[in-house]
Symmetry: C2
Subunit: 241 residues, 2 copies
């Protein structure tokens, strides 16, 4: 009994690994949010497709477990990497009472890495990844982490910086960070990386406060050494160049 939990990368057939493609091809049932199902539709013709809306994660995991227990090789798909705010942990949790189900997580290119590549090289030193979604995490915890990451001069990568129900969260995050990082700290936003209309822009931390972002934006806040080189954001590793 087998469940693959597969990170499909940023959302095109060029950034998905051969291991992920093989796992999808060998699966009989593909479980995942409908947007991601569309992205991999070239691979899933003829397979049983189980889609559900964005916030039905546990429902999808239970469905996957049901198919696996019925003997079908089942794939649960996440965008990016399934282990970074993705489906890997809920699948393990739902399958906790079923050691007979073999769970295999197939890693992918997460938004921190695909976004970083688009904007330059912001993550070439110690960094913290923080989600601004307070759907499952109290905002006070998010604020505390933002402050501590800023105090440590980590480069900060923000996932889920905004959504329809949450506006102004990026501004609040910047306010936390501004207690420790300078207003001129170099930042960048990457949007729809690896998909049509992908774009990026550089900002100062002060400018970043007023930027409109959405759930497809990945935000990078540099450390004290992060600088602009030829229109990109670069965090030096520390070499004498």
């Amino acid at each position: 009994m087998k469940i693959y939990v597969i990170g499909i990368g940023p959302g095109n057939m060029e950034d998905i690994t051969p291991r992920a493609i093989k796992a999808i091809e060998s699966s009989e049932v593909i479980v995942g949010y409908s947007t991601y199902q569309e992205l991999i539709s070239p691979l899933t013709a003829g397979k049983e497709i189980v889609s559900s809306g964005m916030t039905r994660e546990i429902e999808r995991c239970r469905a996957a477990l049901g198919y696996a227990l019925a003997g079908k090789i089942t794939a649960v798909i996440s965008s990016g990497d399934a282990g970074v705010y993705g489906m890997a942990s809920p699948v393990y949790e739902v399958c906790a009472g079923h050691p007979e189900v073999d769970i295999e997580v197939i890693p992918g290119v997460t938004a921190a890495c695909s976004g970083a590549a688009a904007v330059g090289a912001p993550l070439t030193h110690d960094f913290a990844v923080i989600s601004l979604s307070d759907r499952l995490t109290p905002w006070e915890v998010i604020e505390k982490r933002l402050r501590l990451a800023a105090e440590g001069d980590f480069v900060i990568c923000l996932y889920n910086p905004s959504s329809k129900k949450r506006s102004g969260y990026l501004r609040r995050a910047c306010e936390c960070v501004l207690g420790y990082k300078k207003p001129e700290t170099l930042c960048a936003c990457a949007e729809n990386v690896g998909r049509e209309g992908g774009s990026f822009r550089l900002y100062s931390l002060e400018e970043l406060m007023d930027i409109e972002v959405n759930m497809f934006t990945t935000v990078f806040i540099g450390n004290e050494n992060t600088k602009e080189i030829n229109g990109r954001i670069v965090t030096p590793r520390g070499y004498k160049v």
Copy 2:
């Protein structure tokens, strides 16, 4: 004039993206540490190969710039993702005076993600990535970041936890973290992920202090909710399961 900076993933042909393969195939010169050259040798027959030892990063970047300025399409390769402690930033820095050189970073599966997939799902909540190498970063900065990340109850992923010249660093790191995280905090080590002899093991934070690691080990230190499920390490996202 073109330089690709390519993350080749953990080190086998199954976890390298089609985009990375195409970029390598379209390059005339492949610059990189010799171990990584071997990993992608099926793709580079007939190309000009420029290898050098582990610590010659700037030398390799200068060589790449030279080839690019001479009109050759050049690839600089990193294991994992080139943007995470990889060659992306030094390539930008060395090319700072040459806006005519088009640098394209091709993202890959970084050790945090491939290691996480091997040990379970440790990174499904906010996490900090910290390198224990003090070759380019003062140890005091590393210690400060360890303490702040632990205080924020981030999951912590350690790169470069040891090397021939540095032993005892993981123990020192654990001592910093133990000021904030409980001794029974669940941890894991992944070794040689995606390569022959790949393995992993789970530990408590207290046990982790005495573990022998090497430069091919990726270390994960959980948050207060991280738990063991069916022999793997899992950080819940916060769903009611």
